[in-house]
């Protein structure tokens, strides 16, 4: 049977070239990662870029080999049968050991960032203390298909007002407000099935597992950390909060908002208004 080796080699090569061009063209035209406003976001982005560099080298190398072999050795009817080769032991060892080493390298390089974001013992000291005392800034209950947020009356404070479970908690739906420049620890829970708490602009994604209460933290960069998330002339800025784990028919629209306030005073004012609305007796 004849195959059209040269034609398909050209097609594959074109696809590979188009991919490579896209990876150059996109970032140059503002189509790349969403703007990052998180204090640990830069670490995640650097890891991403490192892995992208490694895989790009592999991709280009493999595509060159693939397309050139298809071009040269495709069966257009003019060749004799191929020779049976018993394999090359050294080659096989090489192409096992080198990728394994690269993977181990990646694992080692990302380990500390993973711990910082995911493991309570490695959280920043202030946040770790809040985890131990069970004193989150808010509890986020993911449920089909909404985000139910419960704040203690004075989030982050030391007294009983800083704990969830009292009668004066503030209950809010879908719109998660936080002040910038402060550590935000949330207790992530699920009401029914798997969901995932995803803040694209803060490089944070955490599955909400039914039956588990998972401590999750982030900090929106404030003026002290350099690039403030919310400019001083605005009261607050809104970002996306999305569900990143398929949870049912409404998963595609299980969207909330993360509203980052200019400062703590602005956030407190909002929280007071929310509490007042919740206490209406008329």
């Amino acid at each position: 049977m004849h195959s059209n080796g040269k034609l398909w080699a050209a097609v594959f090569a074109l696809v590979a070239i188009a991919c490579s061009v896209a990876y150059w063209w996109g970032p140059a035209h503002d189509m790349w990662l969403p703007p990052d406003h998180s204090t640990y976001g830069i670490k995640t982005d650097n890891l991403f870029n490192m892995i992208l560099a490694i895989t790009s080298v592999a991709f280009v190398g493999v595509q060159i080999a693939l397309c050139s072999f298809m071009w040269k050795y495709g069966n257009d009817g003019s060749r004799a049968r191929g020779t049976f080769v018993h394999g090359n032991h050294q080659l096989e060892v090489a192409w096992t050991v080198i990728p394994a080493a690269i993977l181990v390298l990646i694992a080692v390089v990302q380990w500390s960032t993973w711990l910082e974001i995911k493991r309570p013992a490695n959280f920043p000291e202030k946040v770790a203390k809040q985890v131990e005392e069970k004193r989150p800034f808010a509890e986020v209950l993911a449920g089909q298909f909404e985000w139910r947020i419960t704040y203690p009356r004075h989030p982050g404070s030391e007294g009983p007002d800083g704990k969830i479970g009292a009668r004066d908690d503030v209950h809010v739906l879908n719109n998660f407000h936080v002040p910038q420049g402060e550590y935000i620890l949330i207790h992530l829970r699920s009401r029914d099935v798997l969901h995932s708490f995803y803040l694209p602009n803060f490089r944070l994604k955490q599955d909400a597992v039914p039956g588990m209460t998972i401590p999750v933290w982030f900090m929106a960069k404030g003026p002290k950390e350099g690039d403030a998330t919310c400019p001083p002339d605005k009261d607050s800025v809104r970002f996306d909060l999305m569900c990143a784990e398929l949870c049912g028919w409404g998963h595609y629209k299980m969207k909330g908002a993360l509203t980052v306030h200019r400062d703590r005073a602005s956030f407190d004012k909002w929280l007071d208004e929310a509490k007042k609305a919740e206490e209406a007796t008329q």
């Binding site: 909404e146 879908n174 908002a257 209406a280």
Partner: protein
């Protein structure tokens, strides 16, 4: 080889093109189908036709909603089929259905071109009364927008015509609302009255926690009606428009029920009794939505006493009124009598058998009653004190939750509200 390529391309194209969105079940996009079930006629207060159906309904009321769902579904199907046959038999010898269809089409239009005797009853526009059959379907009008959004977001649960029979409804408990009854659960008006437009906006905007009804409100909420946060999507969702469309469906349902009751009682539908039926129903809707010059509703429940300042003392009185863990001898003192349905430990439908909750009281939808588990801290109609006050004062329409307006004083209602907040914090999980 080529044939296979073509076949796979055609297959992909057919999947990617999506399902056609304009096919209606029953093939009728030019009219809302008439209800062919006598459950609505009996709900209207007409005569109950068959003792056989009564027996089946009583059977359903006795079943456990959480465990016996297959039996409940089977019984409901039997009732539906039997009533369909009855209705078909009667319809064949009676022209009343033809008249009903005409009247309803004139007043309320069709799924593609809905109209309403009231154009808009949103919070900042006073009701405009129009001649029946007026065409207000211009793109952008509230009903047209509402219809479009309803078709996009609501029909898979609430059904194409709002009959609560969408495909998703099969998996849900509590069931999505069937708008044919013209009733909703969470109203700010008194017992037996229709809901206000704002009640519908509130339910759509904040959803019903504890059920599958999601929140559709805008991201910043609707602070003017006390909803403080909402949804960041879907974008462009006009809650007010959808509330107008739902209101139309409810009105249509209530008119149909009333017409069917007239048919039942008078044996026929003629110009006279059709007109009086329509007038009386529209009056009920007008009355519920009546506003004063400042735009405030005049017929909503407002507490006649302020909420007590001392929460703990108030909750203690509320506990006694509720009958929480009351002894056998003292049961008469529990004035509100909540424990009879919600159980001695307020766990409602999750009560252990020794609490003897769940008397066999059915609800309108051929389902056994499911009194709320009050220990969960989930408040379906809203968690504000005024919301709980209204649930107690006016009861919950279409369910066995009674109105306490004539039984408890305003202070006593606040006491029970405070007690409900107190046990809602207990965080006990159901069995």
């Amino acid at each position: 080889m080529k044939l296979r390529c073509l076949a796979s391309l055609a297959f992909a194209a057919s999947i990617l093109s999506g399902c056609p969105t304009n096919t209606y079940p029953a093939g009728d996009k030019d009219a809302y189908p008439l209800t062919d079930e006598q459950v609505f006629w009996t709900a209207a207060g007409g005569k109950s036709i068959h003792d056989q159906q009564k027996g089946r309904r009583e059977q359903i009321a006795k079943l456990d909603p959480l465990k016996d769902s297959k039996q409940i579904n089977d019984l409901r199907t039997e009732i539906r089929n039997a009533e369909k046959d009855e209705a078909a038999e009667i319809a064949s010898v009676n022209s009343a259905q033809v008249i009903m269809k005409l009247v309803l089409a004139r007043l309320f239009g069709s799924p593609e071109h809905p109209t309403s005797p009231f154009v808009s009853m949103s919070t900042d526009v006073s009701p405009v009364f129009m001649q029946p059959g007026s065409d207000i379907e211009e793109p952008g009008s509230p009903l047209d927008t509402g219809r479009r959004l309803f078709k996009q977001h609501c029909i898979h649960c609430h059904g194409f015509y709002g009959f609560g029979d969408g495909p998703t409804a099969n998996f849900l408990l509590p069931k999505p609302r069937d708008f044919r009854f013209g009733k909703v659960k969470f109203t700010s008006t008194a017992n037996g009255m229709r809901p206000t437009h704002t009640d519908l906006v509130r339910t759509i905007a904040q959803g019903v926690p504890g059920t599958m009804m999601p929140a559709f409100g805008p991201a910043d909420g609707l602070p003017e009606i006390g909803i403080f946060a909402g949804h960041a999507g879907p974008p462009g969702f006009d809650v007010d428009a959808v509330a107008s469309y739902v209101e139309m469906l409810l009105m249509r349902g209530s008119v149909e029920v009333k017409l069917a009751a007239k048919w039942n009682d008078d044996g026929e539908i003629n110009k006279g009794n059709a007109q009086s039926a329509v007038d009386s129903i529209l009056d009920e809707w007008r009355q519920a939505n009546a506003k004063d010059q400042d735009g405030k509703y005049t017929n909503v429940v407002e507490p006649k006493a302020p909420r007590p300042a001392n929460f703990a003392a108030s909750a203690e009185i509320g506990r006694k009124l509720f009958g929480y863990e009351v002894e056998e001898s003292k049961k008469g003192e529990a004035k509100a009598g909540c424990f009879t349905c919600h159980g001695l430990h307020a766990k409602g439908v999750n009560s252990p058998p020794e609490d003897k909750a769940l008397p066999d009281v059915p609800n309108d939808y051929m389902l056994p009653s499911m009194p709320a588990n009050l220990t969960l801290g989930v408040y379906r109609g809203g968690r504000r004190p005024i919301d709980l006050y209204r649930r107690l004062y006016a009861g919950i329409q279409g369910t066995a939750m009674p109105a306490q307006a004539n039984n408890l004083t305003p202070e006593e209602i606040w006491n029970v509200v405070d007690f409900i907040y107190q046990i809602g914090m207990s965080k006990e999980k159901p069995e």
